[in-house]
Symmetry: C2
Subunit: 410 residues, 2 copies
């Protein structure tokens, strides 16, 4: 039996069409949440969904749900989606691929004349990127009860514009409550935003979960002195200490597990003068691991290494946790359904843990959830150079389509 | 025989009196070059020097020479001095001690009725600090021919005021050419501005020279990527590379020689975001060593260590030399005269190399030169907290006085 497929050409055309709205300056997209460009993107999606026979509803935080009815009117829906907003200099596929591959699945159900038992809903979550309004993943955060609607309404952008006002202005402050409701399963297709699938030559990533993340703020104090007159043996140079710590954090993480990552991203020195030994160094630390217990164990090893260095060098170290996002394990039957779909369609696939956050992170708190990754060129994302090939998009849409078929039943 | 001494109480009173001109906000001084405060400090010095029987002359760059005649009218003078300008939040002794201890030596010659064969001149060099007008050590630089008078006249401060105009305004654009002339020897007493003498319990530092200095600008390029989705084994993180380099530079310097120093002072990362692996790191490197050959050897070791790390990690390293100030060796007979004076007076003393630059750096190019260091509290300088005790000042002045006696003859 030949398995039904999505229409890869139509999907690619839709991706290209959407990318014309809020074009970037270097081939990517600039469609910041709740701007005129976001409105135009949403409007285009709604037109397409209506043409595909869907009923549109919008909730109080602007999340859009395009529903294709099922044969059982009382059945909980299978939902698939992602987001249409982009980074300021974002790519054409981050988020957009998840929304339009879900729409393509609905269109393909129509093409093949397939009636599912459960309704199928395509979801567009508001402001996943968090570029214009913080925090990120706001639409799914409010929908799942992770964030309070009133708090989020009051957020302002850099120009002082309130989020609620902007939502009304673009016509997407909807009547539906932004609150959890029964969902049979949530699926999100997404570009990997990392290099693993490409390096491994795999077409599909079966996402088993999202890494736990801890962020820390580090301050390392030493003794400010003259670079020329202070012998090495009496120095307490916090930049030398920080250099050793960054090296140690890197080595500890590599030795810990192959799927753990650590990054020092922010880094500044004070006073930062060419002929002065610095007084203080400030840095951020981002630790990620697929399981919380392992993440906490890694944190312990990193702390021990840093404290040993600070002690040896007579430096004052403070390493304060500023954020903890627990690890998410996706639901086994949803993960298995993704795997079976990839297998059935003959795609090369591997299990993978998402290193980045996604709307599926919050959805997993209220319903069985899973994700499908496709490779992206050089792992580059959050960049206008973000790139995928049409056949990669088609493979992801086909796996999403078949996973929906499995979960929505007939 | 009891050796004649300076008057420590008078010296201390003069230091305190001078510090009242341009007082700082935290117990130090703020007497920036060619300001009204600088003029007032210069005027006070000239009054005191005239009272001590000196003849004042001022050269075209504002250097002041207060001359006490010798018995041989044709003999080349022995000159001692330093500077009266301070850092914006400077101490009361940096520079000032060198000028006023030289003045105290002249006063003591008078007290003891000593006629020297050679004239003794007290020099006040213009703008040693370089805080208001760059470069630093400007008066001695022009005097010794290291800098061109016309270039320096055209320099402007942050408010756009030309140096020549400010020199005229305060009445210190003198008639004497700012050009080398025969000098038998130049002496400069100064606070150490480092912790060595204090830690070693020595009252006097017999300065054998000034370290050679090389400054470098480092740029280290890696690959900008997502902190969550990029496995450790594929990263090319320039901050981890820079951390290893800073550690390696520190270790290489310590292993090289106890009197070599290396400092990374400026340091910045790009883009510097908490969840992004940086693309680029920029840093400064300051290397110092008492001899140029050793400095160049150290540079080679540091470069080799950094290049090895860059090579292993796939990072692009550029380490560009931006300044080289060759090492200065003071004249053996002057250094010996300082040592003999300290010995004769019973002070604990040690040889030391200056880590910082001083006017003596330029004077050494045109005449036999040497320096005398006294300890300062915790090695702190260029700070209003800079501190010395009256007896420390007196010890330095006594050694300067006796070194002048030796060199000026009778």
């Amino acid at each position: 039996m030949t398995e039904p497929r999505t229409n890869g050409k139509r999907l690619w055309q839709s991706l290209e069409e959407m990318a014309k709205i809020g074009p970037g300056v270097a081939g990517g997209s600039r469609r910041l949440a709740l701007t005129d460009e976001d409105k135009a993107g949403r409007d285009l999606f709604c037109d397409w969904a209506r043409e595909a026979g869907c009923e549109i509803s919008v909730d109080a935080i602007g999340n859009i749900f395009a529903r294709r009815p099922g044969s059982d009117a009382d059945a909980e829906p299978v939902m698939a989606g992602s987001h249409l907003d982009t980074q300021p200099t974002g790519g054409k596929f981050d988020g957009v691929f998840g929304v339009l591959s879900a729409l393509e699945a609905v269109r393909s159900l129509n093409d093949h004349g397939i009636a599912t038992r459960r309704p199928v809903e395509v979801a567009v979550w508001t402001n996943e990127e968090g570029s214009r309004y913080q925090p990120a993943m706001m639409g799914s955060g409010v929908f799942t009860g992770e964030m309070k609607l009133e708090d989020i309404y009051g957020m302002t952008d850099a120009a002082g514009l309130r989020l609620e006002d902007e939502l009304e202005r673009i016509g997407y402050k909807g009547g539906l409550p932004a609150a959890p409701r029964p969902i049979h399963a949530y699926l999100e297709a997404h570009i990997e935003q990392g290099p693993v699938l490409e390096a491994d030559g795999k077409e599909i990533g079966i996402v088993t979960g999202i890494q736990g993340i801890k962020w820390f703020k580090g301050v390392l104090g030493g003794f400010n002195a003259h670079a020329g007159t202070t012998p090495m043996e009496v120095r307490r140079d916090p930049l030398v200490g920080a250099g050793r710590m960054i090296d140690a954090i890197d080595r500890v993480t590599r030795a810990f597990r192959p799927d753990a990552v650590s990054t020092v991203g922010e880094f500044s020195v004070e006073p930062g003068s060419i002929n002065v030994i610095n007084a203080e160094v400030r840095f951020s630390l981002d630790l990620r691991c697929p399981e919380d217990a392992a993440l906490i164990e890694l944190e312990g090893k990193v702390r021990a290494a840093c404290e040993e260095i600070a002690g040896e060098m007579g430096l004052a170290l403070s390493l304060e946790e500023i954020w903890f996002s627990p690890a998410t394990a996706f639901t086994p039957n949803v993960v298995d359904a993704v795997e079976q779909s990839a297998l059935k369609l003959g795609y090369s696939a591997r299990r993978i843990v998402s290193g980045a956050g996604h709307d599926a992170r919050y959805l997993a708190d209220i319903c069985p959830s899973g994700m499908i990754f496709i490779p992206c060129k050089d792992g580059v994302s959050h960049n206008e150079a973000e790139h995928i090939e049409p056949e990669q998009a088609e493979a992801g849409a086909n796996v999403l389509f078949h996973t929906i078929l499995t979960l929505a039943g007939n």
